[in-house]
Symmetry: C2
Amino acid sequence: MNIRDIAKKVGVSSATVSRVINQSGYVKDETKQKVLAAIEEADFVPNAIARSLSTRDSSSIGVIVPDIANEFFSSVISGMGEIAVNNQYNIVLFDTGEMQEREHQYLQMAEGQRLSGLIITPVSELDMVTRDKLIQFENKGIPVVLVDRNIKNSNLDGVFVENAAAAYKGVEALIHAGHRKIAIITGPSTSMPGKDRLKGYKAALMDYRIELKEEYIVSGDFKIIKAYERTKELLQLPDPPTAIFASNNQTSLGVLKYLTEQKLKMGRDISMVGFDQIESLKIIDYRLSTIERDAKKQGYEAMAMLIDKLSHKESKSSGRKIFVPYQVVLRGSELIK
Amino acid sequence: MNIRDIAKKVGVSSATVSRVINQSGYVKDETKQKVLAAIEEADFVPNAIARSLSTRDSSSIGVIVPDIANEFFSSVISGMGEIAVNNQYNIVLFDTGEMQEREHQYLQMAEGQRLSGLIITPVSELDMVTRDKLIQFENKGIPVVLVDRNIKNSNLDGVFVENAAAAYKGVEALIHAGHRKIAIITGPSTSMPGKDRLKGYKAALMDYRIELKEEYIVSGDFKIIKAYERTKELLQLPDPPTAIFASNNQTSLGVLKYLTEQKLKMGRDISMVGFDQIESLKIIDYRLSTIERDAKKQGYEAMAMLIDKLSHKESKSSGRKIFVPYQVVLRGSELIK
DNA sequence: TATGCATATGTAACCGGTTACATAAAGGAG
DNA sequence: CTCCTTTATGTAACCGGTTACATATGCATA
């Protein structure tokens, strides 16, 4: 069943049926009604793939994230979904699991799919393959929007948070609480948030004339397991830190996992501040101080930005950056008892 | 740039180029190498949409869930993604937000997209529109797999958990702990898990000769807000329950939200058991007893089942049901102190 | 040497829409 | 009454692949 079949039933041409379906061009009202009736009767749904081929527009937006199971990203996606559906776009979802090869693989697939646009939180800000591919996309007319992580030397548009400033304030809170031995479990040094949050940490310590200690700066990967191990190492140092700054929500959970297993109490044995809230902990009023932001809104913003580019047919980025607001919410875990 | 352009460059026909790309039919190795070189040089990626139109197969699988921000579903999706990518399928994601109209809207879109298959957690088990649409899909050769929620009178294949039995055990734990005044905050009565978990609750009380009290059975919607309100109402009853059974993870969070705000302590002021774990609470060893299962695995199973149907070209369901294992993990919140 | 099969490649129709262009009728202006 | 514009509809090419069918060659077998 296709538009030609419908056309035959009604006794018009396929062009007329197409016009009715798309409400384009001139169609006599009487004809229109007959066509609509035939479509209704045949329970006909036009083939979006054929339409895409013809119009060179898939009405699908690719969304590439590093970890859907991370509540930050699932909230972001949830926000994006609402805007997308209101604008008749589908979301084609890819989860890289922070793996570069998989990111490349997805970008390859995305290219074949002739997606209308792409929203991506890249694994690394230094990955040339990804960068070149994204720039290529924009050159081909497929706009790109970055979420949360930038790409070096690219001036791609994106929606971010002021990582360095936010981390600075988080660390500052620890300093104000009296800490001098403050450690950080970083994110990957290849990702912008990883790097910038570390930058904020260092800036805070320097501003307060606290010496940077190499062994207090340990590298994580934004995942629970490694953060858990790093915490263990930190607390087993001859001169362990009295406070830890965790670079994202998964990192916070890794720290908490170790503390919990060792029956160490936050605020007594160790203090901490984390980046990104953890909703269920907020609900039970678990006193973890975190830097918070509206993830869902970040999703809205990103999708809205992409659709804006799409509707203005401006595929090229111009280094536009939206920064969503953040808040340092102190709940006591930064204190020393 | 298309296969005809490549063909021209090499001096062969488009059919040969197509054969090289798809590794189908006979192609002399020498020719093959020349074609591959031309593809490489032109940085050519074949148009998947044209391919889809021609083969009537989009290599995309629609996934419709009621709430991605719920960690159960984000884990399920994460599991599905891994299997999908290994089998060269894309995931087209739709989040209904538990809204029927939106579900219908998505199913309509899905139909136009000519998806290869569909995995859905329907909002309601009674929705005729959804049911008919899904059956229609299978009749058209698009296999369907249900996740977590069944559809009445449909014999669609799916991956579920033994809701009634699991809920029974959860409630039984409360009874063993000495409770007699046990309330339940249900899920929607129109969803299978909602209904069956209530069934399990009732069965447990009956088996232990505990009278069912109307006012202890309050209806929720699997969301935090309503569960919060229901908890408030329950605890303000003249004769309040001493324990609550929460029908899903969001419901548990709603209960906890109220308890926390009122500074009520679990195990002292009220006891509870919830359905579905909450990972971050487990990490901090928050002593909430829950019925647990491997959500990611449920995602694997569902996607594997769909791909199995796809590869056997059997679009029709045969009422095949996989049940993932569950565990009642008691951590103390079921006790009375 | 004739026959048959495997190998290799090309031709062209087809998938199901969209749309530029052609054609024609109707209505309004001069 | 002629000319122009607006309305209405059809024809056919096009989007970029796939693939049935036709054709041709090489080589083995009888």
